[in-house]
Amino acid sequence: MARATSRKARIGWTVAAWLVALLIFFPILYTIITSLKTEQEAIAGFDLIPSFTLESFQTVQSQNNYFRPFTNSVILAVGSTLLALIVAIPAAWAMAFSPTKRTKDILMWMLSTKMMPAVAVLVPIYLIFLRTGLMDTRIGLTVLLMLINLPIVIWMLYTYFREIPGEILEAARMDGATLRDEILYVLTPMAIPGIASTLLLNIILAWNEAFWTIQLTTTNAAPLSAFIASFSSPQGLFWAKLSAASVMAIAPILVLGWFSQKQLVRGLTFGAVK
């Protein structure tokens, strides 16, 4: 708001906003701090100054082979997103540029598949994975995550593509552009930002998925979400180690998330709030 505000009021609002923000961020901050403590320090009571040791990070890697779930997370998140884009880009493109009477119905139906609770298909998916040898494999989980997020990917791409103005194509055609030129030099550059934000948001969603990853993996294909969940009981009070594993699991996605917060609103509200 561009209204003139007194300096005093501004200071007041700033202090209040920062207090609320720090309170909300505190659990993450405290995890980062704890990851830099020794195990003794970690349970020694409230203390915001760690001894800045990287011991816990090393322990997580050497004891639990952290690298494996991390690689699995990257493969699952990136793989499922790329697969989804391959299927979704043509579909969203077609629906945005040559819509039919049923396009809106099809989009609503796609959205409705997201309403199906995951647990409703737990039994068949579990049995299929068990019998076909897909259990605890990266390929099985990649395809599954792709199917889960496909409706969101199509919706996001559709809302972006729909904003590319049709007149620009006509202008290009008047200037003698062929269909190939149109796609390559006019549409693609305009579509790339939308595709990039869809990619980013979907990687975040796939990275954080924690129902199917826990159900369908044991050790071989377990990504970070399943790996961390297995920390719940045996690790007990090894908080520095737990924190180190947590920090490594959330850091990449936290940074990606900060970059994509604007697209997040659009993407997750299916374009209803911009």
Partner: protein, 289 residues
């Protein structure tokens, strides 16, 4: 643009996505429906037989089932209440002319990017632990005795954790909506002497109505399926005090190996989700154009 040729091409481009989603929706659902009428236990697969409505009756007469339904609703409504009310308040606070708005935004949105098992473990251990957690430290500092959160208030604890995860989402969407509010209108109302509460009630709130609807809709979809937060904190207990429908079905399928029973529970979950969806989809449908 819509010549016959491009229409044919468009159909070809749409087909893979539609077929994939259709198969993904129909095949497992039909299998669940089929299994729900079988006596089928993975520990005893040779004894599989037709069960009729037995699995549904079994669910219907199980007291844990009603508690799970109740817990599911309490969880969804509790989180919605905290995130919508808190989201409106925080969005309005961030929208004020403050220094470092960008950083504040980033701090507030961060919990949304924390994966559910990590969020739950952070809260379970570092925040809510009855002897070493931060809340226990605060309680001792204030001279009261620390609360054993997950033993005494299991469902409330889970609501708090999940609300922490979703508050950023609500705040971000409501803030986006708030920032598109016409400031001239607000100024005019202020000049006419409308008090702050009236401006909020008659200008801000109606403007945010659509965003609030969207927040409720999207969160409900995700909140009905809360699972990892329960698994790593209370494991559904004590007893079934923090078991929601998702967790109950998971227990039937994976811990009791009761395929028939879990499938019947799955069908019940679909019916419940659809009842909620029908009512919510109308709201989104209106916002489409």
């Amino acid at each position: 643009m819509a010549t016959r040729q491009t229409q044919g091409l468009a159909r070809l481009m749409r087909a893979p996505a539609i077929i994939l989603l259709f198969v993904w929706m129909i095949v497992p659902l039909c299998m669940t429906l089929y299994y729900s009428f079988l006596n089928y236990n993975l520990l005893n697969p040779g004894m599989t037989s037709w069960a009729g409505w037995f699995n549904y009756q079994y669910f219907y007469t199980d007291p844990a089932f009603f508690e799970a339904i109740r817990n599911t609703l309490v969880l969804v409504l509790g989180v919605l209440l905290i995130t919508v009310v808190g989201g409106i308040a925080i969005a309005m606070l961030i929208d004020k002319p403050i220094w470092g708005q960008g950083v504040v935004r980033i701090l507030v949105i961060s919990p949304f990017f924390v994966m559910p098992p990590v969020a739950a473990l952070i809260w379970k251990n570092m925040i809510m632990h009855p002897s070493y957690g931060v809340l226990a430290d605060v309680a001792r500092f204030l001279g009261t005795s620390p609360v054993d959160w997950f033993a005494q208030y299991p469902l409330t604890s889970i609501i708090l954790i999940v609300a922490w995860q979703w508050l950023p989402f609500a705040t971000l969407i409501l803030l986006t909506s708030l920032q598109s509010l016409d400031t001239e209108q607000m100024e005019a109302a202020e000049m006419d002497g409308a008090p702050a509460y009236a401006r909020f009630l008659y200008l801000v709130l109606p403007h945010m109505a659509r965003a609030i609807t969207v927040v409720i809709l999207i969160q409900t979809i995700f909140l009905l399926g809360i699972y990892a937060e329960i698994l790593v904190t209370t494991n559904g207990g004590p007893g079934t005090a923090s078991t929601n429908l998702t967790f109950l079905i998971y227990r039937a399928a994976r811990l009791n190996f009761d395929i028939g029973g879990a499938a019947a529970g799955g069908i019940i979950a679909v019916v419940l989700a659809n009842l909620i969806a029908i009512f919510l989809m109308r709201a989104v449908g209106k916002n489409l154009d």
